[in-house]
């Protein structure tokens, strides 16, 4: 399957061993768009590295930016203003919503339902418009930088976000009506592609994919950063672990994201949108690791610094990389059409895996 197969959503090649329709072995072949971001980062300054990260998982661009920003801020022991924390959290949740919307519409398309694609993209457009107004970009936002934010929010930001939430609350039930109860869809997903909690942990699977197997790994809950400690939300867990559970976890997460945004949007404190940083950012000697929860799972930035203005070594622990390699374990014994459904609930973004 691949590298141009319509269900691989990018240049991913799966070498599938079959017996009739039954999958015996799946070996992912990756590297088609390996861009050497870790090598590139070694010759860039810390604020510049942030701009590379939203090219990795472009659907979680804001969270990736935030991870680098938090890592540098923690290493320098800089405390950013409350306003920055609130805005970062709202932006991260909007990004998660946009990412899950795209996942949902593509999931439907993989199952042969083209209508979902138009529903999802229609609503995602509203979020991208909000991003464009504030960040100047729709996808690669470059918004969080070490020390704070690139710009302050647009004067219309709060109004637009509230309008979007109000609108999307009526649209999300439509998603359920269209796909969640559909007989063909449930037949193809319920009871297909089990992943147990132990295996999820052993394979390093994180994010909604792992939470559908009962692995409580939501870093927003367990190691709160930015403003997550100030909001009430549920970590969505399921103990079923099949394809349908992974679908339902993401659907429920969209409600939680909207709830988080609603709790914060009217309470953004006044203040600066960034602290004054030195012209040249130098990290003290040492090793720094920062983990954040992106739409796909745990994203980690590991910086080894030798005290210069560019890092000695940067490693990006991307959620997609670890998640993808559990696919052989899950898909073994299921039919090739099930492999498409399983892969769809993994929500893969290939640049995130290849880096």
């Amino acid at each position: 399957m691949g590298p141009q197969h319509p269900s691989t959503h990018g240049v991913l090649r799966l070498l599938v061993q079959l017996e009739g329709e039954i999958v015996h072995n799946v070996q992912p072949h990756i590297g088609y768009i390996h861009s050497g971001i870790e090598k590139m980062a070694e010759s860039l300054s810390y604020p510049q590295i942030g701009h590379l990260t939203d090219r990795m998982d472009y659907l979680s661009a804001h969270m990736n930016n935030e991870a680098v920003a938090l890592c540098v801020e923690n290493a320098l022991q800089i405390e950013v203003p409350e306003r920055v924390k609130y805005i970062r959290t709202i932006m991260a949740e909007l990004t998660r919503l946009a990412s899950h919307q795209l996942w949902w519409c593509v999931m439907g398309m993989d199952m042969g339902a083209l209508t979902t694609f138009f529903y999802g993209l229609r609503d995602r457009e509203d979020i991208l418009d909000i991003f464009e107004e504030t960040c100047g970009a729709r996808l690669t936002v470059n918004y969080s930088i070490p020390g704070g934010l690139m710009f302050d929010i647009h004067p219309n930001f709060q109004r637009d976000v509230k309008a979007f939430i109000k609108k999307f609350k009526t649209k999300l039930p439509e998603y359920d009506k269209l796909l969640s109860g559909n007989v063909i869809f449930t037949e193809r997903t319920k009871g297909v592609g089990y992943l147990s909690r132990e295996d999820a942990i052993a394979y390093g699977v994180t994010g909604p994919t792992a939470r559908a197997s009962g692995f409580a790994c939501d870093l927003r809950k367990h190691q709160p950063y930015s403003a997550y400690s100030k909001v009430n939300f549920n970590e969505i867990l399921s103990d079923v672990g099949d394809t349908y559970a992974r679908y339902q976890v993401r659907m429920q997460e969209m409600w939680e994201s909207m709830s988080i945004i609603e709790q914060l949007i009217d309470n953004i404190p006044e203040g600066d949108y960034a602290v004054k940083m030195k012209g040249v950012v130098k990290l003290p000697e040492g090793e720094f690791y920062q983990r954040v929860e992106t739409a796909r799972g745990e994203f980690g930035v590991f910086i080894t610094s030798d005290g210069k203005k560019n890092p000695y070594r940067v490693k990006f622990r991307s959620p997609g990389f670890s998640n993808l390699f559990a696919i052989n374990h899950i898909a073994k014994g299921w039919k090739i059409a099930d492999l498409v459904a399983i892969m769809s609930t993994f929500d893969l973004v290939i640049p995130d895996i290849d880096r």
Binding site: I30, N74, Y203, G204, H222, F288, R291, K315, S322
Partner: protein, 151 residues
Amino acid sequence: MTNEALITAIGKKEAQAETKTGAQYVETFVPLARLHDFMVQLKEDKDLAFDYLICVTGVDHADHLQMVYHLESTTHKHMLVVKVKTADRQNPVVDTVSDIWPTAEFHEREAFDLLGITFSNHPDLRRLFLDENWGFPLRKDYKDDIHIVSR
């Protein structure tokens, strides 16, 4: 487990481990030959129970290469960073931990691909991103006259 308790517990498991509290997490250096046994104990011991391998990183430190393992226990919620140095940089060999945590299989393939670290007893050690004839780009002495423009 608190950091102090963690350091004591690790000292009991491995006398040669150099453990200290780092900037964020407890960090421990283990001798190369002891790595695999030590990692098995980290996972099997009920009080430590490091069942989740988060991140595996290879770093080139001029005279030697280093592997860094970030571990977390999903039951006790504590974290540990395990580090190991290779003997030299010409022929770096580290024991695989992929039999303990399956996720390591692919992280180790990445380290093999980009840094040229060989993992003994690895079930399927092949290049991951790049093709067979490529050098090891994350090494500090890597030179690629064709693809890289140096300024």
